[in-house]
């Protein structure tokens, strides 16, 4: 929903002087600049370590598909619900028609909406799993995302298997209005039903997890993990600053802050996530 989290890793073209070109070709670029410590990194090396800066261990965005590939047993992921596509129930239009925005985003990313889901195996154990595609309209949740999340839990219910979700979302997608809001109720109801099979739902909060996603299924995990320094909360920092008319303290709404306040179970480095999730499933499922 809000636009305050648009900070993305800057990826440079092979000639670091071509500052302007970098923006257009950053997805294809060979070099990546860590947006925390500024270190220039070779992209292929960075990908091997799942986009975590070797110099400062800053966790840069990791595309959803790359994440699932790295996490699940090789070849075990079967993507489902790939045919779901967004509609424009309100005929919404701002500077651009929502319909056109979807169309161009779909074309640019080769994704239908902001969520990828299916079943796979984690250390040999079947899991119903899904992850936000943050690049798709800030991971915002409209009807398609809500439907896919709901099906993750319905599938986990049917298969009597654990569910795992990776969240990276600014919240509800305002272009779908009330339908976006209602996805919060729909997904939470699916979780309520899923509890009966007594399998764990492991929720992993990535940067950022806010708004209607945080205030529904993301915070309903039996266990909630977060990557370091992820922005997590209900209201966006800018909204809070405008409301209370003061600057927010350093580190407010970051993973470490939430851990301190008892709101999540653990902060896990990206390289350790797979083993931690497998461990929890072993202990809980």
């Amino acid at each position: 929903m809000p636009a305050w989290f648009s900070k993305k890793p800057k990826i440079l073209s092979s000639d670091p002087n071509e500052a302007e070109l970098e923006r257009n070709s950053r997805m294809e670029g060979l070099w990546v600049k860590c947006d925390d410590c500024g270190e220039i990194l070779y992209r292929a090396d960075l990908e091997k370590v799942l986009n975590v800066c070797p110099a400062c261990s800053h966790h840069m965005a990791l595309p959803a598909r790359a994440r699932l590939n790295a996490l699940l047993d090789p070849g075990s992921f079967e993507e489902l619900d790939t045919g779901l596509e967004p509609q424009d129930p309100l005929g919404f239009s701002d500077s651009k028609k929502y319909r056109d925005r979807i169309k161009s985003t779909k074309k640019n990313l080769g994704e239908n909406d902001a969520f990828v889901s299916g079943v796979g195996k984690l250390d040999g154990q079947t899991v119903s799993i899904g992850a936000f595609i943050f690049e798709f309209m800030g991971g915002s949740m409209g009807s398609v995302v809500g439907e896919k999340v709901t099906r993750v839990f319905e599938r986990a219910f049917d298969l009597k298997c654990p569910a795992i979700l990776f969240h990276a979302s600014g919240g509800a997608r305002m272009q779908e209005g009330i339908f976006s809001l209602m996805q919060m109720a729909k997904t939470s109801a699916a979780i309520s039903r899923f509890r009966a099979v007594k399998k764990p739902y492991l929720s992993v909060m990535l940067h950022p997890t806010t708004g209607g996603v945080a205030a529904s299924f993301a915070w309903l995990g039996d266990v909630i993990l977060a990557e370091p320094k992820a922005l997590i909360g209900f209201a966006g920092p800018r909204v809070i600053e405008q409301t209370i008319r003061q600057k927010l303290p350093e580190g407010f709404q970051r993973s470490e802050f939430l851990l301190d306040h008892g709101m999540i179970d653990a902060i896990v480095q990206r390289k350790d996530l797979k083993s931690r999730l497998a461990q929890l499933i072993g202990l809980m499922a």
Partner: protein, 322 residues
């Protein structure tokens, strides 16, 4: 209801001015010197026509303004008008009391129920205490406690939504605003008693939905329900909060819109000019609608009620493909 001019909306003013004139003539008439009954009759007709003109074709922004009208009946006004024996219960047992969501057991036609709603304040002082109807996590946790109490004692739950949204503050975030809302959504989905939620004024985003997961969702005619406030929407989309009127149109957030989109079950008619013009009549209409739905839901057992609620929300969403 006589309405003070200071609280009147711009589009209500012409009507109020006319009504004031009628009042003046009336008092002159009763003082006995001249008989104005003819003029009064004419003006009353004119006022009726004017009211119809103004209110028969409200735009979305006008409905937004009505939904927030400071003279509009609030939760407690409806409680006093529709229920008896209201026993307010306080506190979340964890941190604090939050006066922006209140509730307790009460009787509806003699039958014990749980009532629960956002409460706005009418004066500045009261609004400070009620935090303008914007709950903190404590409010949502109290609401959950009351709903679980109702489930334990097999009492139907009637919730009343009227909030700009959950409060965005430092303490609210520290104490888990998002968690509190999320848990309510799950808990409400699993309640084995009838739940009817009515939007009586503003249905502001997740902070509204957190007490809005009902078997039936009703809306007062001039209420709104939205994923984001028109002001916030406009400042994000148009970088300008003054385009809220345009954003209200884009969001399709009125009771009529939601009924058309099949998101809510029924629209409760308000008296001409809005609920604040005749709160008793508004409460009567709401009571009648609640009575009807509660009777229908009372024939279902716990499992059936949970399945009914699941099916209702499961069906919400617009997309293509399988």
């Amino acid at each position: 209801m006589a309405l003070s001019f200071t609280h009147a909306l711009d589009f209500e003013r012409p009507l109020l001015e006319l009504e004031k004139k009628i009042e003046e003539l009336r008092s002159l008439s009763t003082s006995g010197t001249v008989d104005f009954s003819n003029e009064i009759g004419k003006l009353e007709k004119k006022a009726k026509k004017l009211q119809q003109e103004i209110f028969s074709d409200l735009n979305r922004w006008q409905v937004v303004q009505l939904s927030r009208h400071t003279a509009r009946p609030y939760f407690l006004d409806y409680v006093n008008a529709i229920f008896t024996d209201y026993a307010e219960l306080s506190g979340d047992r964890l941190y604090s009391e939050d006066p922006s969501i209140i509730g307790g057991f009460a009787r509806f036609d003699g039958r014990p129920v749980m009532v629960l709603g956002h409460q706005k304040g009418r004066s500045t002082k009261e609004n400070m205490a009620r935090n303008f109807g914007m709950p903190r996590p404590e409010g949502y946790r109290k609401a959950r406690r009351l709903m679980e109490l109702a489930a334990r004692f097999e009492r139907p739950i009637l919730t009343f939504v009227d909030t700009p949204g959950a409060y965005p503050g430092i303490g609210a975030e520290e104490r888990g605003q998002a968690e509190a809302i999320a848990v309510n959504l799950e808990v409400m989905a699993g309640l084995p008693v009838p739940v009817i939620s009515t939007v009586i004024g503003e249905g502001g985003s997740g902070g509204a939905l957190a007490i809005g997961v009902g078997n039936r969702v009703l809306m007062m005619e001039n209420s709104i329900y939205s994923v984001i406030s028109p002001e916030a929407c406009s400042s994000i989309l148009y970088r300008d909060a003054s385009m809220a009127e345009k954003a209200a149109d884009a969001l399709k957030l009125t009771a009529r819109d939601l009924l058309e989109m099949n998101v809510v079950d029924e629209l409760v008619p308000e008296p001409a000019g809005g609920a604040h013009r005749d709160p008793a009549k508004a409460a009567e209409a709401l009571g009648k609608t609640l009575r009807k739905h509660l009777a229908a839901l009372s024939t279902m057992n716990g499992d059936k009620l949970i399945a009914d609620r699941y099916a209702k929300f499961r069906a919400l969403g617009v997309f293509v493909g399988k």
